[in-house]
Symmetry: C2
Subunit: 335 residues, 2 copies
């Protein structure tokens, strides 16, 4: 279990598109009480509804940690970020990082952290020993969000479902598998950072046996259809043994994230493959519905697109931002 | 590139079944010129056609390295192995290890290696930086062996195919993805030891673009149907972008390796899923045939079982130990 000191100052780096700052955006949306302000480089074009603060100002307002809320290609720490990170340590903030490259491996930061006695918390550290997946049936119910692509609303959908279930009095837990989810939940496993042989084992450990009527809402990662990350997605699917999956989709996307030469897969193909693979470890797995991010559609065409997707797949299609109720009712019917 | 000093003394530990000593067996089969002898603990019941040597005797015969040729559950180094490993270093041998647990992390061995100036070569070190998979089409032909289960003949089939192609004058390379293959080939990547996000990227790096008529014969790992390791298998499948797959099978196995509660999948189901998934990164992927390990069948029923499998799948079914020619001819027809 990792303890993350808050409140946070969110670092947006040189992000020029919303997806590159999705960690900061999600943190502000799901844990606003932890977010004091933002700090960014001049070329950054992303804005949150948070004040832009200097490190000194954030510190004087009580910030405990600077959180890296943006990404750079390949998961690395951009050299242009070093001065701000160094200043943060000098001013007495901890650093929280969910990218692949470890802050602790940057000598100038590591030595400054030692000098000021501040923590560098690299969420993707892979030093914790993990078990090999065993595939044994566990008590309790599990739902996993899967996707037609990366960065398509799996964490968002999971958090909406979790909060709706909590509100309805259903026993449930949000199980985080990515750095942002971990920052929101305060625990979890960065599943894409574990050693390949232990992906399923990590997923099993994340979602242990529970009371029969308890629901684990497990944050999905990547897509079994994504050529870069499919291994992570399949290991997570097999280890989670979901009773239910929800397929997340973004109807305006024309190609897979990061791969302009790969068109988006069809919903039906992704659904069929997901269920065929899920049933290897849970023969009862079913799909409860499609979670559609309609935010890039004209408001007047949203209902129509949801209806089209429902007709095409024969399943519920909802935008969780508009109304998650039909999906939560489906979960109730499985309780 | 890792350079492995030979000849080897093969350490069989406390192996009591053939699969537990498969590394040593395969090394002796495919690189006999490198194997001087074996050394084992009293409870070991596996025997190779190699002399049992003391470390001193092996050293005096010219051995350069002690190779861990056996496995223990979870990929760990059994404490009962420590005295022999320590003696090997003291007598001047290097240590070569393909298990998950790193010999270099055992203080008594690390300090002895430093003292005697001998190398500890942990093949599953994950320190090398790897790229994210890009899914870009590469020149050259690729064949990947896949399996209905783990430890079912994927490396064996790959090596048979590679040698048959070499003999027939076809340009080809054997691409090793496991520790034994690496010991045989002298290079490769332990694909199950990479960070989950980089599985496909590692597979792409292992099998780079080549001459149009060159064949990479890529050693498969695990099975997309195996609940413990499917993530590794899918990442390798997507990163390899095989033009051809060969499905490896063992007809007497009743359940998946290590999972007595999982019956073996059907050949057809495994074939269909493998091709559906392979075609995500190579729409032209096809299955050339089934490689069947018939060694546990009565000799008189072998032909019949191969014919049954051929009828069931509509594909070639061969035992590479008996005759690999029909499969190599299929590859020729694709050249």
């Amino acid at each position: 279990m990792i303890d993350l000191p808050s409140p946070y100052l969110l670092f947006l780096g040189n992000a020029t598109d919303e997806l590159a700052a999705k960690t900061a955006k999600a943190l502000f949306e799901w844990a606003p009480e932890k977010c004091l302000g933002q700090i960014s480089l001049p070329e950054c074009t992303v804005k949150l509804s948070l004040p832009e603060l200097s490190i000194q100002r954030a510190r004087s307002m009580g910030a405990a940690s600077l959180v890296i809320g943006c990404t750079a290609p390949g998961g690395s720490i951009h050299p242009s970020w070093h001065p701000i990170l160094l200043d943060a340590l000098k001013e007495g903030l901890h650093l929280i990082n969910g990218l692949h490259e470890q802050l602790a491996s940057i000598p100038i930061l590591a030595s400054e952290a030692a000098k000021t006695n501040k923590q560098i918390i690299d969420l993707r550290q892979t030093s914790t020993p993990l078990p090999i997946g065993k595939g044994l049936k566990r008590q309790g119910k599990r739902l996993l969000t899967v996707g037609t692509d990366c960065s398509i609303g799996k964490m968002y959908t999971s958090l909406c479902l979790y909060h709706a279930l909590k509100e309805a009095g259903v026993k449930s837990s949000f199980r985080a598998t990515g750095q942002t989810g971990m920052m929101i939940a305060g625990s979890g496993v960065a599943i894409d950072a574990v050693i390949a042989d232990f992906i399923a084992g990590a997923a099993e450990q994340l979602s242990p046996g529970n009371e029969p009527e308890h629901w684990d809402i497990i944050e999905g990662q990547g897509s079994i259809m994504h050529p870069s990350f499919s291994g992570v997605s399949l290991g997570l699917l097999h280890g989670s043994q979901p009773d239910a999956i929800v397929l997340c989709h973004e109807p305006t996307r024309t190609h897979m994230r990061g791969l302009s030469h790969y068109p988006m897969p069809s919903l039906q193909e992704c659904l069929d493959l997901s269920l065929s693979l899920a049933r290897i470890t849970n023969p009862e797995a079913s799909c409860l519905g499609i979670s559609v991010n309609t935010s890039r559609l004209n408001p007047e065409s949203r209902k129509e697109v949801l209806q089209q997707i429902a007709d095409e797949t024969g399943l519920l299609a909802v935008d969780p931002k508009l109304d998650i109720t039909p999906l939560t009712e489906r979960i109730h019917s499985l309780c």
